[in-house]
């Protein structure tokens, strides 16, 4: 598919006049690229840190489409195994999902105690009870985490800056909704299903 190249107007009167796009500037559509590279130590990475294939998801724990994509990602991980590192970044659509930020904060509070992925999985597997943080804290308790510390950190919004940083990095990378996936650094405009993701991951490498 072709995208129209930028059209500029140089009208002296300051009116918005459009000139037909010149042939020279016509170019093939290129999906946006991830502008914030994967950073071990900051990013949540599942799989070998130096794996040859990288899948990055910008997700929202309350988003039903992210919930649908969750088992798809699991399947991608199973198939590609140690060839893949999967990175999850926050993109809470707070104006439409009232619990998205809270859930992201809870996951970060679990991450602070080394259990991000357990909480990530729990939240996606229990999206129907996302409005009741007690469920997530009870789960954290069952993992043996210090839930008083987690509750305090969530109440004080200790991790909101970090979550907002993920969000803004996503915006600059062309995240256009949730979930948005990047396959080896390039936005995946195809379906967020295992087959399509695996095909993209193994063909672009």
């Amino acid at each position: 598919m072709l995208a129209r190249p930028p059209v500029r107007s140089k009208s002296k009167s300051g009116k918005t006049l459009l000139e037909p796009a010149s042939r020279k500037s016509r170019r093939t559509y290129q999906p946006p690229r991830l502008v914030v590279s994967v950073t071990p130590g900051r990013d949540h990475i599942a799989g070998p840190v130096n794996a040859p294939l990288t899948l990055v998801e910008y997700g929202d724990f309350q988003c039903p489409y992210c919930g649908d994509a969750y088992p798809e990602v699991k399947q991608v991980q199973t198939v590609l195994d140690s060839k893949l590192r999967f990175v999850y970044r926050h993109f809470p659509m707070t104006n439409v999902h009232e619990y998205a930020m809270l859930a992201a904060e809870i996951s970060e509070a679990a991450a602070a105690q080394g259990r991000f992925w357990e909480m990530h999985d729990f939240l996606f597997e229990h999206q129907d009870t996302i409005g009741d943080p007690g469920q997530a804290f009870a789960f954290a308790d069952s993992l043996g985490l210090d839930i008083q510390r987690m509750q305090l950190e969530v109440a004080q919004h200790v991790y909101q800056d970090r979550i907002r940083e993920d969000f803004l990095g996503g915006v600059r990378s062309g995240v256009n909704g949730t979930p948005t996936f990047y396959v080896n650094g390039v936005r995946h405009d195809g379906e967020p299903v295992a087959e399509s993701l695996i095909e993209a991951l193994t063909s672009t490498h």
């Binding site: 598919m1 072709l2 995208a3 129209r4 930028p6 059209v7 500029r8 107007s9 140089k10 009208s11 300051g14 009116k15 918005t16 459009l18 559509y29 946006p32 502008v35 659509m93 707070t94 104006n95 439409v96 969000f167 803004l168 915006v171 600059r172 990378s173 062309g174 995240v175 256009n176 909704g177 949730t178 405009d189």
Partner: protein
């Protein structure tokens, strides 16, 4: 163009600040919903550049009102309804076959000159990255900004 049943907005009124114009095919279609919800959340970033945003489709104002309320959109939805698609056509952002605006983005400077535009491929939601880069380029150093910086610098030393 109408923004509410009894209010009209003209592009001339929006001069003086950068303006983002987002043409989109229709209220309620799922892709648009994501695009405009995203812009509502990125609004604080747009505001850092002093920019206003208007979104434009051929839907009527009543549909716009219901849609904006439902999605908590914090910017005006303008109705390019009568004569249908006139503004979209002027910007080369009208799909005559379907009778809807195309998914096109424009960034205008404070004088109302188009400085950046983008037409998204059919079915692809363009995100906000291009808009932010365009606003960044617009900002560049201007004599006004420099003066203001000097003033604040002298104020802090004096």
């Amino acid at each position: 163009m109408k923004s509410t049943p009894d209010q009209k907005v003209s592009l001339d009124e929006l001069r003086g600040q950068p303006l983002i114009m987002a043409f989109y095919p229709a209220d309620w279609s799922p892709v648009c919903t994501d695009q405009l919800s995203l812009y509502a959340m990125v609004m604080p970033e747009f505001k850092k550049y002093g920019a206003n945003l208007v979104a434009i489709s051929v839907d009527n104002v009543w549909s716009h009102i219901a849609f904006a309320k439902d999605r908590k959109l914090n910017f005006p939805l303008l109705s390019d309804f009568e004569p249908k698609g006139k503004v979209s056509q002027k910007f080369g952002a009208y799909d005559y076959k379907i009778g809807e605006s195309m998914r096109a983005l424009f960034v205008l400077d404070e004088k109302g000159v188009v400085r950046w535009s983008y037409l998204s491929p059919y079915g692809v939601n363009p995100g906000a990255d291009g808009i932010l880069s365009a606003l960044e380029q617009l900002k560049g150093p201007t004599p006004e900004n420099t003066n203001r910086e000097l003033e604040s610098a002298s104020a802090s030393t004096g």
